[in-house]
């Protein structure tokens, strides 16, 4: 008997789930229904729908083939390719006999240089195989967002202290929606390409770290200013050689340090953002660091590498404890209260819990135990659910956990309780999309007082707030 069979039934064909009110699963008509008939808790929340805004395309690698070639002379062609795509691409253009018909000597020289360069890069990849993929491919490969390159919402992040959400859209702009004001600030600058992650600085109202291909951009958006497009003078680009593309940024809960990870770099950087200095934390085994997660009390950091190795860093001494996952790299991890960590490996329908127990002798033991089996099953309505895990989120109080699956279009929400060193995971409810919507990414609101509020970005560009409300008296 799978845990999914004890979930409440899915809403009917024309219906969708709106919220959960004190154990009552509230569904309504997908087209005419409105969440305000059930609850006012999200009345002031910003309404986000990304498709309504027109995206203007940037010349990314996917759509560069759309543009029609113009006949330029050879030198101009080579220089423009050099400027846009780099030296090696320019060499290959010069060496290509179909393009370069004018000077065969140049073509021959270029082809020889290219051969040498290829040998060198092959040798480099032999030494460091994780560098093989280029920027956006690495991000897409390690991203916890489904189809990161194509979906309208690349990632989202709630502010830790106030009702404010940042959404990175497919055109690599970051929109900041706020509950009190109606306008939307769009953060955009030239260096901001291939946004992989967002994170608001705790203990600050205005600072947002954006992980993108070149490095980390820290925006300072004054909440009192009414600019819809803050100038790029409010942004600071933090970058370092070899640390690209950035696949994850995360602030310490104390608000003083920022960690950036790159899937192609074996060291993760700890930034002092005001002084713009970084200290690398480097451990070679395991390859690039994919993402990092701070525990609530900032005493520990979980980092996942691109291989089976993951590490738990202690922030007093800055030394790691090395762990190995079974089979695959860790795709998702989240900390809960009392320093419990839940994590899941790629391609495996199993959630593990990592708990630290202090013994009477003062020493601590840490062990990983399987906590939840989410093997793929078919519900009575015929909908498949479960299977390999794509992403997990735990709400800040540690009572609800949401999960995305690689092969299912449902969002599963679980109740979690941690009493007497025992973690108990119970079914709560499913969240379904309207029509053929697929969930892309999600996040729990950080300052929701009535329970938990899960925000889900659907493939249609709709962003749904799904509140789970409970009152203590109930």
């Amino acid at each position: 008997m799978s845990i999914f069979h004890s979930f409440p039934n899915l809403p009917g064909p024309e219906e969708t789930a709106f919220c959960k009110l004190n154990e009552v699963y509230c569904c309504g008509n997908a087209r005419y229904g409105n969440i305000s008939t059930f609850s006012n808790a999200t009345k002031k929340h910003p309404i986000i729908n990304v498709t309504r805004d027109l995206h203007h395309h940037r010349t990314s690698d996917e759509n560069i083939s759309m543009y029609i070639d113009v006949e330029d002379n050879l030198l101009k062609k080579i220089t423009s390719v050099w400027y846009k795509q780099g030296f090696l691409e320019a060499l290959s253009v010069a060496a290509d006999p179909s393009v370069n018909r004018e000077s065969p000597t140049l073509a021959v020289t270029a082809s020889y240089i290219l051969k040498v360069a290829n040998i060198l890069t092959a040798f480099r990849y032999f030494l460091q195989p994780h560098l093989k993929d280029i920027g956006p491919k690495i991000v897409a490969n390690y991203s916890r967002t489904r189809n990161w390159g194509q979906v309208p919402v690349k990632c989202l992040a709630w502010h830790p202290h106030t009702t404010k959400i940042a959404v990175a859209t497919v055109d690599d702009n970051v929109r900041v929606y706020c509950s009190e004001v109606t306008f939307v600030s769009t953060l955009k600058c030239k260096a901001q390409g291939h946004v992989s992650s967002l994170n608001w600085r705790p203990l600050s109202a205005s600072e947002l770290a954006v992980g993108c291909e070149q490095g980390v951009i820290v925006w300072t958006v004054d909440p009192n200013l009414m600019f819809t497009k803050p100038s790029s003078s409010n942004a600071v680009l933090l970058k370092k050689n070899g640390h690209s593309p950035v696949t994850d940024v995360s602030w310490s809960p104390n608000g003083d340090l920022l960690i950036s990870c790159s899937g192609a770099d074996t060291s993760m950087l700890v930034w002092d953002t005001a002084m713009e200095t970084a200290i690398p934390l480097r451990r070679v085994a395991g390859g690039g660091n994919v993402f990092a997660r701070w525990s609530f009390d900032a005493s520990k950091i979980f980092t996942a590498t691109s291989s089976i190795i993951f590490r738990i860093w202690d922030t007093k001494t800055w030394t790691p404890e090395r762990w190995c996952a079974r089979g695959h790299r860790v795709v998702a991890a989240c900390w809960g209260p009392d320093n419990i960590l839940l994590f899941a490996a790629k391609g495996e329908p199993m959630v593990y819990a990592l708990t630290t127990t202090s013994l009477l002798s003062g020493s601590q033991t840490t062990k990983a135990t399987p906590a939840l089996d989410v093997t793929k099953v078919e519900l009575s309505s015929g909908e498949p659910v479960g299977g390999p895990i794509l992403d997990m989120c735990w709400d800040p109080t540690g009572r609800y956990m949401a999960m995305l699956f690689e092969e299912s279009h449902l969002v599963a929400v679980f109740c979690t309780t941690y009493i007497m060193m025992q973690l108990k995971i119970d079914p709560c409810c499913f969240v379904t999309g309207v029509e053929d919507e697929i969930p892309c990414t999600m996040a729990f609101q950080q300052n929701f007082n009535d329970g938990a509020c899960l925000t889900i970005a659907w493939s249609s560009g709709r962003v749904q707030h799904f509140p789970i409300i409970y009152s203590e008296s109930y």
Partner: protein, 562 residues
């Protein structure tokens, strides 16, 4: 030596020992590298080992030790003293020629000479002696290449000294996280090597140019003194210089010299900036509040850094702060600590205030009086009411001082005339260039010492936040208002610096380091206020706060303060 310098000198000695170890490793690697012989690995290894354990090597190690003692002494002299104040070009210029700098430059030239000749002797080159037996004449001839190299060594020592100590300020920068020492050295090695080889190109070029113009003078002097003949072609000819290939040697040895100096510097930085745990109460050791009291000194830095680390991670010592003293029941630990912390923050905001005060006349004109404003006209300073919260005695002095000024006596009149005359002379173009106060120097000077202030603010805020759960007796809660108002006061003084239009040209910063410092300070003060306000947000109305402070924390409560 008293307790205060003890920590510093102990650490210097440790760093010298580390340094000698590291230098020995570099030397051994050099020996192995130079004798590399892939075809005969056994003989390569055996001859390297022979050299490593030979007498030459041990003498080298001793000499390297001496050199690193030199360096430690120099670093010590720079770091222990507070930063010198130079506000005019003239005083800056004079300070270049103080005896300390002259002695140091000689020491550096010597150490450059030593290191260079050490490495060249390790590399078994024949450029260690100035003389050789002539081929054509009967007698001894000058080996100009070795003269070139040895003078080059001195040149590099001087060059490094000028670059590292005179033209850039020597301040100790504490890293924001502290890793294991080995790990740090491992991380630094790559950049040390690449910087060493890269940065050595420019001084070599300078030296070659220098030698081209003035090389014949030392050559003549040396050959006259030792009575040597000149046999080879002179090196102050471009073709000869390039043909002899000695410049490659010079570049290689310079790189080695720079690598060894950078390695020393890195080791000193790593050892000196290691965080230290001070006890909260102790009769023998230096306690935390006493360490903090020695502000702007090395111990002050360590103390405030420890305050921050303790407030974030160390529950045991925090508990000690929240306890009451055993006979008496006074929160002595907390009171001592709070007093020193507030002193640091208040002193800093006072300095800022005085810098802001320079533009007071402008400000009064620009600020329209608010109708029904609660600020009474008698408060001369902008933040009058807030200053009173800090019980600043200086304020009263300042007021009285203003009153005394109005007394009209002959003496004061003459003084005034004289001052006007001095001012007028100062305004003359050439003189104002030399003696006029440089723009932004005072603010820059102040901001350079802002690091302990940041740590103190954050430390105070996090202790206060931790007190909500850990403080059984409510020790900290009684002092919350004064902590909040002190932080708000500092924040307002900092805000005045950034307000456009109010800052006179004198205080516009154009130094990127100082600018970063300013933003770092501002963000850490805001972080501290946020930490307290968010932690106590439910109880904030129960804290007895001054109305002005209450208004000032409103934007923090609703998360609207940028």
């Amino acid at each position: 030596m008293d307790v205060t310098c003890d920590i510093f000198s102990k650490r210097l000695i440790i760093s010298v020992l580390w340094n000698i170890g590291l230098q020995a490793v570099i030397a051994v690697m050099l020996v192995g590298f130079i004798q590399i012989d892939i075809l005969h690995p056994v003989s390569w290894i055996s001859s390297s080992i022979n050299d490593v354990f030979g007498w030459k090597m041990s003498i080298n190690i001793v000499l390297l030790g001496l050199v690193s003692f030199f360096q430690a002494y120099i670093y010590g002299c720079y770091y222990v003293k507070p930063l010198p104040k130079y506000f005019t070009r003239f005083s800056m210029f004079l300070s270049l020629f103080c005896t300390q700098n002259i002695i140091f430059s000689i020491l550096y030239a010597l150490s450059g000479y030593f290191t260079m000749s050490l490495y060249s002797s390790l590399a078994k080159s024949n450029f260690n002696t100035l003389k050789k037996i002539c081929e054509n004449y009967d007698g001894q001839c000058l080996l100009e290449q070795s003269l070139f190299l040895q003078m080059g060594g001195m040149w590099m020592g001087l060059y490094y000294f000028l670059n590292a100590h005179i033209f850039s300020p020597t301040t100790l920068t504490f890293p924001h996280i502290y890793q294991d020492k080995f790990q740090q050295i491992k991380l630094a090695i790559h950049s040390i090597l690449s910087c060493g080889f890269k940065n050595s190109i420019i001084p070599v070029v300078y030296y070659c140019i220098f030698y081209y113009f003035w090389g014949h003078k030392p050559r003549n002097v040396v050959s006259d003194v030792y009575g040597l003949y000149l046999e080879d072609k002179p090196l102050d000819n471009i073709l000869n210089l390039f043909g002899s290939g000695i410049w490659i040697g010079l570049w290689f040895y310079t790189s080695l010299f720079l690598i060894s100096v950078y390695a020393m510097r890195t080791v000193f930085n790593i050892v000196l900036t290691e965080p230290m745990k001070f006890p909260i109460e102790s009769s023998k050791k230096l306690t935390l509040h006493k360490a903090i009291a020695q502000k702007s000194q090395f111990n002050g830095y360590l103390g405030t850094q420890d305050l921050k680390i303790m407030s974030l991670t160390d529950t045991v010592r925090r508990k000690e702060i929240f306890t009451l003293s055993q006979p008496g029941g006074h929160p002595r630990n907390w009171n001592n600590l709070l007093q020193e912390c507030l002193k640091i923050v208040n002193d800093f905001s006072k300095e800022l205030d005085s810098i802001n005060g320079d533009m007071k006349p402008v400000e009064i004109e620009m600020l329209p009086k608010r109708p029904g404003s609660s600020i009474t006209p008698k408060s001369t300073l902008y933040t009058g009411n807030l200053r009173n919260m800090a019980y600043s005695p200086q304020l009263h002095e300042l007021k009285e001082h203003n009153k005394n000024k109005s007394e009209d006596t002959l003496l004061s009149a003459i003084k005034e005339e004289f001052n006007i005359l001095v001012q007028r002379i100062r305004q003359k173009p050439g003189i104002s260039y030399l003696f006029g106060e440089l723009t932004d120097t005072r603010l820059k000077f102040l901001l350079m010492q802002a690091q302990p202030v940041m740590w103190t603010c954050e430390g105070l805020a996090f202790i206060a936040a931790a007190s909500l759960k850990e403080d059984k007796y409510g020790v900290v809660q009684t002092d919350l208002p004064i902590v909040i108002s002190t932080l708000i006061n500092l924040k307002q003084n900092l805000d005045k610096l950034t307000k456009p239009g109010l800052v006179p040209r004198k205080h516009i910063l154009n130094d990127s380091f100082a600018l970063k410092m300013k933003s770092a300070l501002l963000s850490s003060v805001k972080l501290s206020i946020y930490k307290i306000v968010i932690t106590f947000s439910k109880y904030i109305h129960e804290i007895p706060l001054d109305p002005d402070v209450q208004i000032a924390i409103q934007p923090f409560l609703i998360c609207k303060e940028a």
